[in-house]
Symmetry: C2
Subunit: 333 residues, 2 copies
């Protein structure tokens, strides 16, 4: 990839946006020019990129003049409003929101899983949900090894960084208040998140599952090319700053074994096996934080499903679950 | 229950022991005399009971002279060594450890689930594992309503109080150290627990599950009288001080519905329905803390199992998961 590109980052001042800049820099992405875009509130701020300070500009429909790749991470509303302007200006949009994920003609891509899907884009490529990415990077090697995954039952342990910088601030402020003995404030979450867990991520659907929980089901089907896949998920916010963990039980079409699963994980890109019960070795969210790879441990033959495995995946949700995955998609182009 | 009893509490100074004293007091248990027992290290300490200070005595084989009921909560080793002495002295032992739970002839009792089993004791009645108690208080009404539970897939969110007072201290000290920027100490858990989660409770077994995870399987079979039940569980420690939460997917023998499940929960003892997705109502660990009841929410038709429900239970693990359940067993006698 020798062509130098003009890259725009929409939502540059957010938790994912700033991590996108880190990823572009660390991975030596061929950036000829960087344009940082955000709301009028953040315009004028300066962010470091490759040793220089770059001024953030206000996002307008005209912001995408000459842009080759536009990385969006500013919420669904912004993506729906400004994504088409970027496409019209000739940019390829890589969108981190849920705005276009399930649209026909919009590839939904995890580069380690379905890189070829990116080729068929019509101007927009969607970045999957963070919990879905972390789960699938761990699950896909097993999906490939054991004739396809049929059912997933999973519970998540999701960090507050999934709610952006505000989520991290809320946890920090609540902990400080509780340590001091002063009353806590709740702005981001409907319940106290410090020293508590909340079984509620994103809005509730008619079937009683949240939108976040159903993303694993619908996005999983699309990414794995597994239209028969069923996923029953419980998404839970936990008082962890960064990196999501997921406890997964998966049923496959073919027989499976722990030994073959370990080999499949070890041979796969973007994922590391961290699993030795003799030495109490398994990954925790802190181990994955700021890393590119998802970490898999606690692989065991499931007791309920004959062709089943139960295991544990962790991944940095800001990085692999969002920013890095988007930059990796850009690299595929 | 008018007879006044001589009650001994073994492990009186621990987190569960002191909660046992609270439960005896609050529930007006007919205590004629209380004997507090602990290791030589704790002997001489004084604990409040019904407005008086009671001195803790060193546990010896002779401690149970005249004792009617001995509540043990000092670990398996102590139960195995001293439980038989208590029985020999004529006491009924209610043991919170795992020492005798799976022994034939030792009833394993959750009073809301299998009270009649307590009658057949031969001197020892076992108190189940805390996560198992919380799960079964929520699950049993559905087990009764839908022809028996066949399979359970569950993930836990377990508070540090499950490791006793030391677990709570370790979380508190790590949080204080991190807030100050000083290095953390790890004594109770093999990894940092503050702002992290650890998929490891109790020791690993040959099948890759931990002992804690297999307790739900074996103890569940015994308590529910369901020898065919299979439970596949992932137990995870979370930075919550008190109360365990469990995300449960259960498959039943008969057809089930959310409406019938809600009715069954509402009619059952020891459990409250806290479930209204329209108002984002569901229980969190903080809501259950210091309460007697387990709280059930997020009941939804499972997507994987035709006769399945997925739901969420929380319960105060020190109280209902241990101390209260033991005192309730004593009340059955």
């Amino acid at each position: 990839m020798s062509k130098q590109l003009h890259v725009a980052v929409v939502g540059a001042t957010g938790a994912v946006g700033t991590e996108m800049l880190n990823c572009l820099e660390q991975r030596d992405f061929p950036v000829a020019k960087i344009t940082l875009l955000a709301s009028s509130r953040s315009a004028g701020k300066r962010l470091p990129f490759r040793g220089e300070e770059v001024e953030v500009q206000e996002l307008t429909p005209e912001s995408f003049e000459g842009v080759d790749i536009a990385l969006f991470s500013a919420g669904s509303g912004i993506s729906k409003e400004f994504g088409p302007h970027a496409v019209k200006a000739g940019a390829v949009v890589i969108d981190n929101s849920s705005a276009f994920r399930m649209d026909e003609g919009v590839p939904l891509v995890v580069p380690e899983v379905n890189p070829d899907d990116a080729k068929s884009h019509q101007g927009i490529i969607a970045n999957p949900n963070c919990t879905t990415i972390v789960t699938l990077v761990g699950l896909n090697p097993l999906h490939q090894a054991f004739g396809g995954v049929r059912n997933i039952i999973a519970s998540s342990y999701q960090a507050v960084s999934g709610s952006g910088a505000q989520g991290m601030q809320e946890l920090e402020q609540q902990v400080a208040a509780l340590v001091e003995g002063s009353p806590i404030e709740k702005n981001v979450y409907p319940h106290q998140i410090a020293f508590n867990v909340i079984p509620h991520v994103d809005v509730f659907q008619d079937n009683g599952y949240t939108k976040e929980e159903m993303k694993m089901h619908y996005e999983g089907r699309k990414i794995l090319h597994a239209p028969e896949l069923t996923a029953s998920v419980t998404c839970v916010r936990v008082p962890v700053y960064r990196s999501h963990a997921v406890a997964i039980t998966a049923e496959f079409n073919n027989a499976c074994s722990v030994e073959a699963a370990r080999e499949a994980i070890e041979a796969a890109p973007g994922v590391q096996l961290v699993d030795d019960r003799m030495t109490a070795l398994y990954p925790t969210p802190l181990d994955a934080t700021h890393g590119d790879d998802c970490l898999v441990g606690r692989i065991r033959q499931d007791l309920v499903f004959e062709n089943g495995l139960t295991f544990w995946v962790v991944g940095d949700q800001v990085r692999k679950g969002a920013a890095l995955n988007a930059v990796q998609i850009a690299e595929l182009l």
